[in-house]
């Protein structure tokens, strides 16, 4: 029988966090905005879940935010090591948008992956998002564990479906979003 574990991660010079995967939560003094893309050292400890000192304080923060941050920076614009060339990806649930700081292009890419299975190349072509950014998004979704992958049929947009000047874009311009 597997034993639930807690993680404690010390990003040297940036801060320390505790992660409770069962609660999908983390806490600590690590400011995600200041998380270095290439930290000099990271110390990871695991503890049994009943270890008193290693737990998440209070309700903690949604782990989506931390995993999104790591997933979008850890592999730069390249596919993460666990991904296969040519695979199409479909989102299984939306990430917590209150935690991930998604920009407008991210939102459109996520909306497409919530709707149809697609390769990053297809997402970039359909939404106008930067291909490298889409790779980062798919990496992050994979790290969070909310994307399915495989050899699904290619997406079939109704032309000219993905309107570069659709309501989203016009409203984005209007609201300065």
């Amino acid at each position: 029988m597997s034993t639930p574990v807690l993680l404690r991660i010390d990003v040297v010079g940036a801060g320390t966090i505790a992660i409770d995967p069962r609660r999908h939560a983390y806490s600590g003094d690590l400011d995600l905005a200041r998380l270095p893309e290439h930290p000099t050292a990271v110390v990871v400890e695991t503890h049994p879940a009943d270890h008193g000192d290693a737990g998440v304080d209070g309700p903690g923060r949604d782990l989506d935010g931390l995993l999104w941050r790591i997933g979008t920076v850890a592999f730069d614009d390249r596919p993460a090591s666990w991904r296969w060339p040519g695979d199409r990806y479909r989102m299984l649930r939306w990430p917590n948008l209150g935690e991930i700081g998604a920009g407008p292009d991210d939102l459109r890419a996520l909306a497409m992956l919530a709707t149809t299975a697609a390769t990053p190349e297809e997402v970039a072509a359909a939404t106008g998002a930067d291909r490298g950014r889409v790779e980062r998004i798919v990496n992050a979704l994979g790290l969070i564990g909310i994307v399915d992958s495989g050899s699904a049929a290619p997406p079939q947009p109704s032309a000219p479906v993905v309107q570069r000047r659709g309501l989203f874009q016009r409203l984005r311009d209007r609201l300065g979003f």
Partner: protein, 186 residues
């Protein structure tokens, strides 16, 4: 004039009027009356027909924001407004007695609109009541409605940025669903 109708739905007192006021470019038109149900929501007035606000996208295009009355006795209005709408922001007060029940009831009440257009759930008062979490709300939707994927976003109805994020997520969802709708459903 091109118009795009967005509904703000949810139980009485959840912040629908406030959310529309946060992003509307015009003074919000409200049809309020004395609240005779202070037990459900302790506020002096409540919306009895609708709230209305709007955002002008261009000279000939508007996003119309309608807040539907929260009380079930006004449910006949929900259907009328939903027919014209392209999508809905469902607000849920996480400090309510049973927010998951409110969430699922809102989805049931507007299921036709959700399937035809789209929806976003805006969770309010998460700071006061952190449970159920965003993930738990998402799981509740998946359990009750397998295959239905609705973004769940923390929203402070007073914060324009939060309401804008919910609105833009909704529009992105609607556009993509329209774009990739199966041929037989177009």
């Amino acid at each position: 004039m091109a118009e795009h109708v967005i509904l703000f739905a949810g139980p009485m007192g959840v912040g629908k009027t406030t959310a529309i006021r946060s992003i509307s470019e015009i003074g919000v038109v409200s049809t309020e009356a004395d609240n005779t149900d202070r037990e459900t929501a302790d506020k002096p007035t409540t919306t009895v027909a609708l709230d209305y606000g709007e955002i002008a996208v261009g000279e000939d295009e508007k996003v119309r924001l309608y807040g539907v009355p929260g009380q079930r006795r006004f449910s006949f209005m929900w259907r009328i407004l939903a027919e014209r709408a392209i999508g809905m922001i469902l607000l849920v007060d996480n400090s309510a007695a049973d927010p998951i029940a409110d969430l699922l009831a809102g989805i049931d009440d507007f299921r036709e609109l959700i399937d035809r257009g789209g929806a976003v759930v805006g969770l309010s008062r998460l700071d006061a009541a952190p449970r159920p979490t965003v993930l738990e709300h998402t799981a509740a939707i998946a359990a009750a409605h397998p295959g239905l994927m609705i973004p769940v976003i923390p929203v402070d109805p007073r914060a324009a940025g939060d309401v804008r994020l919910a609105l833009m997520t909704l529009i992105a969802t609607i556009e993509m669903r329209d774009a990739f709708r199966p041929e037989e459903a177009r």
